[in-house]
Amino acid sequence: MIYLQYLLVGAGCLFFIVGTLGLLRFPDTFTRIHAITKADNLGLGLLMLGLLPSTESLPQALKLILIWLLVLAASATASYLIAHYVKAQSPDALPHADTTSEEQD
C-alpha cells in the first residue's frame, strides 16, 4: 500500500513539475493555461489519491476530496476567465487556439 502511495504522490509531483515547466517555457497564454491546469487537476488529484489511505477518519478523507473538487472548479473557472480576457484584449493573437484547445481538453 505504501509503495502505491509513493507512486501516486510521485506521479502527482511529476505533473506539477511538468506543469510548471510548461508555464515557464510555453510561448503564449493559452498553451500556458493548458499546461498549468494539468498540474492543478491531475497533479493535485494524484496527490490526493496518494494521501487518502493515510487519513485517520472518514471526515478527513472527505475534506481532502472536497479540497480537490474545489480546486478543480476554481482552476477551470480561473483558466476560462484568463483565456476569455486575453481573447477579448487581442482577438487576432491566436492563430489556431480554438481548434487545438478543443482537441486537447
Partner: protein, 308 residues
C-alpha cells in the same frame, strides 16, 4: 527532510520578498506579494501557529491581495505607466524594522510569570477548549473589543472618503455584464463558503479557528460575489451599514450588561462563558466579514465602461 523543507520555505519567502521589491511592474509585485503571503502562512503552520496561518492566508494573502489588485486596476485606468523607482526607501524601512525586531527579540526581558502556563491553568474556567480563543475572547477580550472598534473606524473612514465616488460609479455601470461561467461558479460556491465560514467559527471553541478567520472567509465570499457582478450590497445598503456596527455593539452590550449583575466590565458568568463567547463570536464573524468586504466595496468601480 524537515530541515530541507524549512530551508526551502525560508528561501522561498526571501525570494518572494525580493520579487515584491524588484520586479519590473506593479502587477508582478502584487502577485509575488500574494505568493509571499501563502508561503508565510505555510511558515506559520511549520511554527505550529495554525491560527496565525489561517489569518495570514485569508487576510494577508487573500483580501489584501484583492485590494492591491483592485488598486492596480484603477491605477492602470488613469495612467498606463506605473514607474517603480521608490523601492529604496521602503526597503530601508523594512530592513530597519527587521533589525529592530531581531534586536528586541534578543534583548527581551526575562518573563516573571509564565503566560502559557497561566492560560493552561485557567482554561477550564474560560468556557472554551482552545487556548487562543480563550485568550482572545475571555482573558484579553478587552483587546479584541478595541480591535473590532479599530476595524469599524477603518471601514467608516473608507466609506466617508469614498461616498461620492462610489455613488457616481454605481449609476454609470448600472447595466450588468455578468460572465456566465464566473456567475455559475460563484453562485454554486457561495453556499460552500458560507458553510466553511460557519465551520471555522464553530471550530474556534476547540481548535484553530474563530471569529476573525471565519469573518475573513465570509468577506472573501462576498468579494467573489461582487467580482462576479452579484451586487448584493445594493439591495440592502442600510442593512449593510447596520451590520458593520452590529458586532461591536453586541460585544459592548454584552460586556456592559454583566455589570448589572455586579461583575466587572467584560467578565462572563462562568457557567455560561462558553455560550457568551460563541454568541459574541458569531456576531463578530458577521460584522468582520461585512467590514472587510466594505473596505473592498469602497473601491470606486470601473469608471469607464469598457466596450468589450
Amino acid at each position: 527532510m524537515q530541515f530541507a523543507f524549512d530551508s526551502m520555505l525560508g528561501l522561498g519567502l526571501l525570494a518572494c520578498a525580493a520579487g515584491v521589491f524588484w520586479s519590473r511592474d506593479l502587477f508582478r509585485s502584487v502577485v509575488m506579494f500574494i505568493a509571499f503571503g501563502l508561503l508565510l502562512a505555510l511558515t506559520w503552520v511549520r511554527l505550529e501557529a495554525p491560527d496565525l496561518a489561517l489569518a495570514e492566508a485569508a487576510i494577508g494573502a487573500g483580501l489584501t491581495g484583492v485590494l492591491l489588485l483592485d488598486a492596480i486596476g484603477h491605477l492602470r485606468q488613469h495612467n498606463e505607466h506605473s514607474p517603480r523607482n521608490h523601492w529604496l526607501l521602503p526597503l530601508l524601512c523594512c530592513i530597519a524594522l527587521a533589525l529592530l525586531l531581531i534586536l528586541s527579540f534578543n534583548a527581551r526581558p526575562e518573563a516573571s510569570i509564565s503566560l502559557p502556563q497561566l492560560v493552561a491553568e485557567s482554561l477550564p474556567e474560560s468556557g472554551v477548549e482552545h487556548p487562543i480563543t480563550a485568550v482572545l475572547l475571555n482573558f484579553r477580550s478587552y483587546d479584541t473589543l478595541l480591535e473590532i472598534a479599530v476595524l469599524l473606524v477603518a471601514a467608516v473612514v473608507a466609506m466617508a472618503l469614498n461616498d461620492g465616488l462610489a455613488a457616481a460609479a454605481r449609476t454609470s455601470t448600472e447595466q450588468s455584464n455578468r460572465d456566465p461561467v464566473l456567475a455559475g461558479f460563484t453562485s454554486r460556491l457561495a453556499p460552500v463558503i458560507l458553510l466553511v465560514a460557519i465551520y471555522v467559527l464553530w471550530a474556534g471553541s476547540y481548535m484553530p479557528g474563530g471569529a476573525f478567520q471565519g469573518g475573513a472567509i465570509l468577506a472573501a465570499g462576498l468579494v467573489l460575489l461582487k467580482l462576479a457582478d452579484f451586487h448584493i450590497e445594493r439591495y440592502a445598503e442600510s442593512l449593510l451599514r447596520l451590520g458593520l456596527a452590529f458586532g461591536f455593539l453586541v460585544f459592548l452590550a454584552v460586556a456592559t450588561s454583566v455589570m448589572i449583575g455586579g461583575r466587572p466590565f467584560l467578565t462572563y458568568p462562568e457557567a455560561f462563558a462558553g455560550q457568551f463567547i460563541l454568541f459574541i463570536e458569531a456576531v463578530l464573524t458577521f460584522s468582520i466579514g461585512l467590514i472587510l468586504f466594505s473596505l473592498f466595496n469602497q473601491s470606486p468601480g470601473q469608471e469607464v465602461p469598457h466596450d468589450n
